[in-house]
Amino acid sequence: MQFRDSFFASKFGISERDLEGWLSEALSRGGGYADLYFEYLATTSISIDESIVKSATQGVSMGVGVRVLAGERTGYAYSDDLSPERIRHAARVAACIAEGPSKTIKEGFLNGERRELYPVLTPPADLPLEERVSLVRRADEAARAYDPRVFMVQAVYADTMKHVLVATSDGRINFDRQPMARLNVLVLAREGENPPQRGYAGGGGRVGFEFFLNEKTPEYFARESARQAIVQLDAVDAPAGELTVVLAPGWPGVLLHEAVGHGLEADFNRKGTSAYSNRVGQRVASNLVTVVDDGTMHSRRGSLNMDDEGNLTHRNVLIESGILRGYLQDRLSGAIMGATPTGNGRRESYQHVPMPRMTNTFMLAGESDPEEIVRSVKNGLYCATFGGGQVDITSGNFVFDATESYLIEDGKLTRPVRGATLIGNGPEAMQRVTMVGNDLALDEGIGICGKDGQSVPVGVGIPTVRLDGITVGGTAR
């Protein structure tokens, strides 16, 4: 597809000449580089609660962000009005970051290479609302049917379609259509007079509605959510102290996201504020550990045909057999550090400045049999499901919340334990990985990553992993 046939050209009548004009305005006071990011986002969300479809919402937001780089300085302005005069005004405001004679921009644009990592059969706009309603109804029924102790079910289905266009002063133009869909189920279960317990499951990705009919059904997520709540009914107090921990495959990869991923974002590293700063080529994990960030995976939540600066995404090896190989770059940090772009420049919306972010971050499979890993632990904790996590990239300390775990006693999973926070230090914890399973799995597609007030969708993954020594924050001694 050529630019003239693209969404913004056809819907808003934007021409290449217009883009050149606004970029020239952005560089009217000097500045080394400017770009425009156009976004059009249509969302739909349907929720069921107490078996009543209580809420149905749709909406559209759109706008353009103008960025000007002058050395290490960034000027940014945006407009939610796509009229030429408002865009020109935003460009003039962003231009003020520079102080000098105006620059001329390259004439004509080169169309960026295009990919199709997430073809969607039924665009959300063509999907009857009733079809979405049937998904949340099915989830509600399946969760209630799972066990009579389930007494509360909430399910939400949300889909979005985002159209983006990036045009740069160095003559590149690229655009993309980015679908996203997600179904979540929250369940409460109760037995007798004991306090209720909760379960939460969900998933999706850059997929169409068909995904929930053919691959992961509402019943699948509903039963998983109900199962978690029922398991917790028998949970005992979590242990306190340093323990050997085995992570289940899949979503527990959130450990890598916190312990490794954020600390490898290039903005922190060029400023020298990360625990991983100036450590490329050094050992930062055990030799069993290879960590990859891959934005090019088919239909995954963290995948992108191009990043939010118009660069193609890549499969980037961050840690190879325990040795730090590189950082996650965006344009600004890459230029300052003299590194090639890795396709990790992302932003929440046109109202936000791009920065280095993860896409899908995971550890490659090892050779151990997962059952063998559990058998090898005399006393420990098996973490099956996590809530979220957080990291202080400067000290390297991170936490993550284990919401479903089991005691390991004499190599066997025994009792479920109550939720507990685990805390460790990134480089230290990754050196303590002593076994890596052959069962790499990616999460179901529910990750949201926050940084500097900006949220973006991400994916994580990990095989079964044994960590020798991490602090578990329970209450039982």
Partner: protein, 453 residues
Amino acid sequence: MNWHEGPHLERLAGRVVSLAREAGATDSECTISEGSEFSATVRMGEVEQVKEAGSRGAGVRVLFGQRTGSSYTSDLTDDGLRAMVSQAVNLARITTEDPFAGLPEAADFGAVSHALDLYHGDVEALDAASKVEMARLAEKAALTLDPRVSNSEGGSFGSYLGASAFANSRGFLGSYRASNCSLSVVPVVKDGDAMERDYWYSTARSAAGLEAPELIGRRAAERALRRLNARSLSTRKAPVIFEPRVARSLLSHVFELLHGESVYRRASIWAGKLGERVAGNEVTIIDDSTMPGLFGSSPFDDEGVTSRRNVLIDRGVLKSYLLNTYTARKLGLRSTGSASRGLTGNAGIGHGNLYLASGALKPEELLRRMGTGLFVTELMGHGFNAVTGDYSRGAAGLWIENGEIAYPVSKVTIAGNLKEMLNQVAAIGDDLEFRGSVAAPTVAIGEMTISGQ
């Protein structure tokens, strides 16, 4: 963009309500807001980023009997508003009759009569150069305090000016505008291989209300420095004191427990506990949306119900939940004026100025009385479960021996159950101050499990 457009926004909101009526809606409500933001970051003495922009948006909720639909748009042209209304009308077709859905009772509509002092012209009057200069001065104060302050994530100034209007089909129409600004610094300190960062900040509705940049920079650097060369602890039970910055998180948990939706779904340990003792005698928690000049204040809530002061916990006894019209009806109670919504969807629940009332003791006196224990200055993670009260979070702080600071601590967790934590609150400091809409003084929690090496 022009910031004095209250009447203009009210006209647009009223227009949306009449479009909904024309489309056959039994009832409707509309929120319209606009705002402008400015932010500047200075890092290592150099301007790093300046951002400036304005935006606006509208949201509508329509009712057809007791079915609802809602939608939003950033297109405030008449065509844009019409498209939004017809989308919401279309969505109402597919929702289910909900016997509790509906607008508030007419008697509940209204606005606080005294001046709330939410808007100050000095924020708008401040030029970009002065804002950048404040960020620069704050960072400089941090960088020059001590040679170990060797790096920084920068000093930042941010300001926001906004206006919003609300109208509904029962005749409510109101609008207000507000301003705020903030100044913060994130220094990074280094000693050998140890590296730590911390932050300090000030926020105010007026530029004149901000703390001096030098003070903010110095506090931030002092906080980062005192974290250097922290140790873990052996796993143990010990008394714990929360400094105000982290004690606020306890109120966020209390908010979850009092949240009307959690209460009617029985997803809160406090469901069905009105009138019962849920905390120690020392504990009084108030939510007040009517305090002049503060961040949680507004003349009316997001359903047009008059803002008020709600005593939630009075000397340990549970007195009130936080309710919007819907959850109040579900529970057979009255709205507490706590409806909160973005542009769209059904009204949720929010809080105004939510705070733990001050006690009588100086914070140093709390430490002295504790003798030996953990003074928590940072919490990490989200380890609180409102359904069970289970509490487990990452922590850092200072180990206290004989009432004096012994050494910094990090990489530990603290765990317990919020029910017991609140019941054991031993004493509360006299140092309540508002740096946002949630505030707490220093709190002595009593014993918790500290997990470490």
